[in-house]
Symmetry: C2
Subunit: 134 residues, 2 copies
Amino acid sequence: MTDRAKQLLQQHALRITDARLAVLIFFLKQQYPIDAQQIEEYLAKKKIKTDTATVYRMLTTFADEGLIKKVRVSDEKLHFELADRPHHHHAICTNCGKIEDIEKCLLNQQIQLEKSFQVQDHAVEIYGLCANCH
Amino acid sequence: MTDRAKQLLQQHALRITDARLAVLIFFLKQQYPIDAQQIEEYLAKKKIKTDTATVYRMLTTFADEGLIKKVRVSDEKLHFELADRPHHHHAICTNCGKIEDIEKCLLNQQIQLEKSFQVQDHAVEIYGLCANCH
DNA sequence: GTGGGTGCAAACATTTTGCAGTAGA
DNA sequence: TCTACTGCAAAATGTTTGCACCCAC
């Protein structure tokens, strides 16, 4: 996984640092959207010295490079997930906040809105209780 | 509209103040989700003295009473809209941030997910460019 | 009169920015 | 070497809380 992470950084002409490698590995391992705080905790556990600002800067850089993308799952925090994951939506537990994937898209792939609204992307979030919470 | 606003406050045993009336009227007039800042600007225009904290407290109170509900349209700010509006979704312009309603629900009303996820609510947001922005 | 509602200030949480130092290419 | 990247500190943004005062009931 380290190799894959290195490769991704090199492909995007980004310098390889411990923090970046670890964050990318975290994304590769993680199948659900993660936020800045989770990344900081992960880096702390891995004994990699970091800083909140750096985490945000990494996220911004990766997102700009198209490695990860912003996901809107909460009013409170920004979440990100790997950009190359297939199209999917999220089921968010209103009790514990856990985010699960919904693999099949519930909308027709091509959404055509009346009006002159030019669709670029769409997000579907399902709120409810996950298996543990009910 | 003032009468309707008064009536709503009375029905929920909430005291009638200038700020609350104005905010409710704003919600009644407004067909799209609004945020705290827009409310403050509206109150300022109406020459009603207020404070950010008060606006948030009103929003929290109204939401607790079920008069309005939180809408997830952005990563940045909380938005609210009248609770009694019929089920609908939103089209959000990625350029100017304008929010339009999508009246017909693009999902089947009853979403049944595999897994043991108990669905309570769902949100669909369509991102793209509104008529003015393309 | 009483407690719900408000204004003000200060705290809080998340995210961003400035700047000087460090280290990857 | 050169500059992308980082750490630290401080600021900016959005939201919440404490407290004393005031007004709707």
